[in-house]
Symmetry: C2
Subunit: 214 residues, 2 copies
């Protein structure tokens, strides 16, 4: 990923937040026929790799876990927000019309080797912690133990677990850091005025020192 220094986000707690808040990842793996792209939720855990580890699962029928080239690197992409940025949002445009549109976004690339988990005890532990994570905040959480044991055993046989010990964690937050404080405030206001969840999500990433700077 092309990453100019002013858009690099290196704070581990921010990268971890993105992965946890936006767990549905785009997974890029390497096969003999070129890149393979799949989509699945991953859970980031602090242990298991230099930058933690990703844990998830796919259908056993998904060829990815057998087609991935041994020793190759997988890339999991977690995307927090994105939005079009209009040059009209820059107050600085009034005195200097040298502006163009751009697209802002905040995302994380987690790199590492892909490990496949097939033993049922590990898979049972994995789906339990994944379920508890996603059901945790609900009024009456569904639990893995709610499913009949024989059915659960069959379902565990129909998936394989995936683990990616993260050897490299790269964050790109393109949020108008290359603009003046006044223009950044204008971008945040412009995004807020869009009154869409996508725009509001992006607005939160724009660094604002002083909202009255313009």
């Amino acid at each position: 990923m092309y990453l100019p220094r002013h858009f690099e986000e290196a704070r581990p707690e921010v990268l971890q937040h993105i992965m946890r808040a936006h767990p549905f990842a785009t997974l890029v793996t390497q096969s003999a026929n070129g890149p393979v792209v799949n989509h699945l939720p991953f859970m980031w855990v602090p242990e298991g790799g230099p930058h933690g580890m990703l844990r998830g699962h796919v259908a056993r029928a998904n060829p990815l876990w057998q087609d991935t080239l041994p020793g190759s690197e997988a890339i999991a992409v977690f995307q927090a927000a994105d939005h079009y940025i209009s040059p009209n949002w820059y107050p600085g445009k009034a005195s200097d019309p040298r502006v163009v549109p751009t697209w802002n976004y905040a995302l994380v690339h987690a790199h590492g080797p892909l490990r496949v988990i097939q033993d049922k005890a590990s898979l049972h532990a994995l789906v339990t912690v994944l379920t508890d994570t996603h059901e945790g905040g609900r009024v009456a959480p569904w639990k893995v133990s709610d499913a009949p044991a024989d059915y659960l055993d069959k379902m565990l046989g129909a998936i394989v677990g995936l683990e990616i010990p993260i050897t490299r964690l790269v964050g790109k937050v393109k949020a108008s850091q290359n603009r003046s404080a006044a223009d950044r405030a204008g971008v945040a206001r412009g995004l807020a005025a869009e009154t869409s969840a996508a725009a509001s999500a992006m607005a939160q990433w724009v660094p604002i020192e002083n909202r009255s700077a313009d």
Copy 2:
């Protein structure tokens, strides 16, 4: 991408809608060092390839346009929606507890070779149509001609255009089609009750024949 038949979305108008409504793509290209992942908005146009063509641009400083292996296939991913699906949303669970959580999503993979555009007349035309697309609905649209000509010329020198004639267009809409009508209605209700834009977006993809089926 693993794609069971019941999750395949092949209607061209639906795939085109996803690409137009969610233009910010994850672009996977192939270099001598393996897959490369970048992020940029693409515009889908009906002409230029068997399934139309994608047009966009990146910074000239982005190595992707020089590193991509000649003859290799690029994959652009457009994502419309995704959300966790709780088994508690299935009314059928009351009589049959054989249910597990899943994750629903709707997205498109556009495959094709990557072409690089460097001549400034083409780039000027490209940024003009991209700008007009994204500024079109605004009260006072910014126009490319608002920027000083010498500045614009410099900016066009700092980008390269990318075109992907689409040779294969794959849609995956995983939206509980493998559940009963009652369970699908329950999923739509469950998503609606989340009261988040992400959940509402996913709810729209769940096929509901009869909301009172349960």
